[in-house]
Symmetry: C2
Amino acid sequence: MTPPPSSPPAGPVASPEPLVRFRLRITRDGQVAVGPGKIELLEAVQRTGSITAAAKSLDMSYRRAWLLLDELNACLKAPAVDSAQGGAHGGGSRLTEAGQELVRLYRHVEHTAERACAADIERLKDLLAR
Amino acid sequence: MTPPPSSPPAGPVASPEPLVRFRLRITRDGQVAVGPGKIELLEAVQRTGSITAAAKSLDMSYRRAWLLLDELNACLKAPAVDSAQGGAHGGGSRLTEAGQELVRLYRHVEHTAERACAADIERLKDLLAR
């Protein structure tokens, strides 16, 4: 049986369980060269095959996505995104090998960090109120 | 010999060496319960012995520091900061045992993460332009 849609949830909708997130930022001259926002954007380009669709999926303007990718490409030895000019689909975009390597390494670092610190993170959570 | 102060530096003033930082955030219901800003503030209280001096050393208003600490204390089983009422020095503040443990664990987690990921972080840096 589906509960009646009018009945309020018994508890808070969001989980009260604390969420632990590692964020890795590589800065140079005080500017973020690589950070979580750019990595999410690269993953969205990889998933959707275009900057327009990637921006839309992240609720970001095309202009902002383009500027972030331009900034990122300028920081790298080789660009992370390759945009086809024209073509049947109006020119899609995809990650270069360097872009794929960047995403892979970044996510691997986060994952390794979470595993290496699991015990201390549990202790940190233990300091939080229920 | 000291170079003449009027001569411009030969290269950029800031080091071009990329800086890698891990940031750990513990969120609950979308709010940051523990993050780098609050930990820095606790360390400043520990160093200076008062919220006023801590706020000043971080270029933060007393009001903002107080609100951050209040928010933090509300997230914890036991408060992180203990403020003396009155007294010869107008009431200093210091970290409780829980506050000290929080700072210690947080910094230990960052340090462990950086060590565990050192090789991948070097690979990430290798993708950056010189």
